[in-house]
């Protein structure tokens, strides 16, 4: 039964993607009929036509959103909606940058320390809405929205008032030390010319760890149980308050690590001082929904979103704004929001088919008996 349901979930995700692409196609057609099909084709095949560099670029785009997707998905599995990934992401990035700029003495271990610092910072920042939820019964969505903005303004404040971190002329954070960048781990050689680095491998490891924790450990089972039914898990003797806080903190740690991966990628990314939330946080929600919150699903969903994002990048060669990709993603989310409905619809369809099959068999049997 479980297998069957997963299968239907996968179908409803495909359905959402299909509708999203369809709407994208229609918008392209309306806005510029002459180039619409070429544009659509570019979205679908853009990265592949640029060889290994294009593929490497997809992995590079995918790395941070796999992490935020994993973060949101993990929280979903434990019954929490972590809309605070954007705040955790930037707090993690900030911690990474501080180590990246000030930790030159660490030498070749600098990037590892920077990643750890980001993970811890994200862990603590993510715990805040968890504590609010567990101790004060505050809805985590609202608490997360608040911590998103507080985190963003806090990082802007800390960066822009620290002369050692702030490049005043360009209005962004200073360059990190070379040793703070995540090494290529061979991937940069394999996908030459792209910005891919070892961060992608770390993201894969994170996917594997979250998978094992959720599916194979008592700890993960307890967290999930608290998500299914808080009262029942309490009745079964689990510490449901601790579980909520730990779930949010782990989710925060994943997002924070994602933030470090983006800003330590060595691709020239800096924390820009502007009053805008990190887009990777919101994209994490898309990735988690599309991947049905399952770690493996999140991995593929992240790659998919990164793929069409890279495709959208090549769309600039034609006369199209790249925002079409965001529109497609939004439509995909909208339709995956009522995946429940699609699932029930598919289930009914299946039941009907089974029933008619049975009815047919019966009439056949009836026929032979006569």
């Amino acid at each position: 039964m479980q297998k069957k349901r997963d299968h239907l979930g996968f179908l409803s995700s495909l359905f959402a993607i299909f509708v999203g692409l369809l709407v994208g196609m229609v918008i392209l057609l309306v806005s510029n009929p002459a180039q619409a099909f070429q544009g659509f084709f570019t979205i679908l095949t853009g990265p592949v036509t640029h060889g290994l560099k294009g593929v490497g670029q997809v992995f590079y785009y995918a790395t941070p959103i796999i992490m935020t997707g994993l973060s949101v998905g993990f929280a979903f599995k434990t019954g929490l909606f972590n809309i605070g990934a954007a705040g955790q992401f930037i707090i993690g990035a900030f911690a990474a940058i501080v180590v990246g700029i000030h930790g030159k003495a660490l030498g070749s271990a600098q990037w590892i320390v920077a990643l750890l610092a980001a993970t811890i910072a994200g862990f603590l920042w993510g715990a805040i809405p968890g504590i609010f939820k567990a101790c004060f019964n505050v809805n985590e969505v609202i608490a997360c929205i608040m911590t998103n903005y507080i985190g963003m303004y806090l990082v802007n404040y800390l960066v822009s008032t620290n002369a050692s971190l702030y490049d005043k002329i360009r209005n962004y954070s200073k360059d990190v030390a070379k040793t703070a960048n995540i090494p290529g781990m061979g991937l940069d050689k394999l996908f030459e010319g792209s910005s891919i680095n070892g961060g992608f491998l770390i993201a894969l490891i994170a996917v594997a760890i979250i998978y094992v924790v959720l599916q194979k450990t008592t700890f993960g089972y307890e967290l999930k149980a608290a998500g299914f039914n808080k009262d029942a898990s309490k009745y079964a003797g689990m510490n449901e308050k601790r579980n909520i806080i730990v779930s949010m903190a782990i989710a925060g740690a994943l997002s924070g690590l994602g933030g470090a991966m983006l800003y330590l990628a060595g691709s020239g990314k800096h924390i820009v001082i502007q009053d805008v939330l990190a887009a990777e946080g919101m994209n994490g929600i898309s990735v988690a929904l599309l991947g049905l919150s399952h770690p493996i699903g999140v991995l593929f969903a992240g790659l998919f979103i990164a793929y069409i994002t890279a495709g959208g990048f090549y769309l600039q060669l034609l006369d199209f704004p790249t925002e079409i990709i965001d529109i497609i993603t939004a439509v995909i989310i909208y339709f995956s929001a009522f995946s429940l409905f699609v699932r029930v619809f598919l289930l009914n369809l299946q039941k009907k088919r089974e029933l008619t099959q049975k009815a047919n068999e019966k009439t056949k049997e009836g026929g032979t008996a006569e």
Binding site: I27, S31, N32, F81, I83, F132, F136, N137, V138, V141, I142, A143, I145, M146, T147, N148, Y149, I150, Y153, L154, N156, Y157, T161, D275, V276, L277, M282, I285, S286, L289, P321, E323, I324, I325, D326, I327, T329, A330, V331, I333, Y334, S336, A337, F338, L340, F341
Partner: protein
């Protein structure tokens, strides 16, 4: 004294959109539907309204143009919010996710269309709507300076909507029914109220007010629209909670938040604050920190509608 007048006039520009959008959110949540899409609806409302002003510049100007833009923004907000209503009421989708989708859609759509039409992401507009001084009222000493000079008709519209909201929510049959749907929809249904209709009404009102709020936010504070309302939709959610889902308290909360935003935006022009050394980021953070604090202290007897966020299922027991 002039500084005080300036601060109060500026504070109105920040307060009124917060008030409108938070009131919109109130109607939706009171009917039982969480509307996290306020930010997206604001963007869509501001987008069509400003686009209208941009396209009709030269042909129209002044208050007539603004009123037509208001009508367009409100209609856009209603249409856009219907997507949320359909997903969360008819299809019983997760309301937070549906709202998130709309929030992602709006800025992307606004930028896409703006670039197709005007070639750039930003839409410029000429502001011909400012009222330097309201006749007669603007000449009143002190009060005239504070509330009737350097103002917009939208400010007064905001106050009218506040009063109408109070009356509708607490003194009409519709308001009572709407509230009952947010508290206990099964009970409401059992006495013959159509819960789905009420929830549609709640979401539509929130769409109308959020669409209007988007336009009202952009017109006095900018001369171009860049597919963003600077997180005001989310701030309005904070106002809604800070105001505990009650229109009068929402007004108080929006004045407080509006004042904080004003100080953050203009503090360098205020002598007392610019020498105090407190960075503007502190004022930017205060509304969110204050909301967290309020959440912490009121969670035991929160006034949040009991049934909000739960899709209404007729057959549920």
């Amino acid at each position: 004294m002039n500084t005080l007048y300036m601060v109060i006039q500026q504070a109105m520009f920040f307060t009124i959109p917060l008030l409108l959008v938070a009131l919109g959110g109130m109607f939706s949540e009171r009917s039982g539907i969480i509307n996290i899409a306020l930010e997206g609806i604001m963007i869509m409302g501001a987008f069509t309204g400003i686009l209208f002003i941009h396209l009709t510049t030269g042909k129209l100007s002044g208050q007539l143009q603004l009123i037509l833009a208001i009508v367009i923004s409100v209609s856009t907000g209603i249409v856009f919010s219907l997507l949320h209503a359909f997903a969360s009421i008819n299809l019983k989708a997760d309301q937070t996710i549906s709202g998130t989708a709309l929030n992602m859609f709006a800025p992307a759509f606004a930028i896409f269309v703006a670039r197709r039409i005007t070639g750039t992401q930003q839409i410029q507009f000429t502001n011909t709507f400012r009222i330097a001084s309201v006749p007669v009222l603007g000449d009143i000493p002190v009060i005239g300076n504070m509330f009737f000079q350097n103002t917009y008709i939208t400010t007064y519209l905001g106050f009218i909507i506040l009063i109408v909201s109070i009356v509708v929510l607490f003194y009409t049959r519709f308001g009572l029914r709407l509230r009952s749907c947010g508290e206990h929809p099964q009970a409401a249904d059992s006495v013959g109220i159509n819960v789905y209709h009420m929830q549609y009404a709640g979401v539509i009102i929130s769409g109308a007010l959020a669409g209007l709020g988007g336009l009202v936010f952009v017109v006095p504070t900018s001369t171009n629209f860049n597919a963003s309302v600077a997180g005001y939709g989310f701030l309005a959610l904070a106002v809604l909670i800070f105001g505990q889902w009650h229109p009068v308290k929402i007004f108080g909360a929006s004045v407080f938040f509006g004042l904080m935003k004003t100080i953050a935006a203009t503090y360098s022009a205020i002598p007392v604050l610019s020498t105090s050394g407190i960075p503007s980021y502190v004022y930017k953070m205060v509304p969110y920190l204050a909301t967290l604090a309020v959440l912490m202290f009121t969670s035991k007897n929160s006034q949040a509608p009991k049934a909000e966020g739960i899709p209404y299922d007729k057959g549920a027991r």
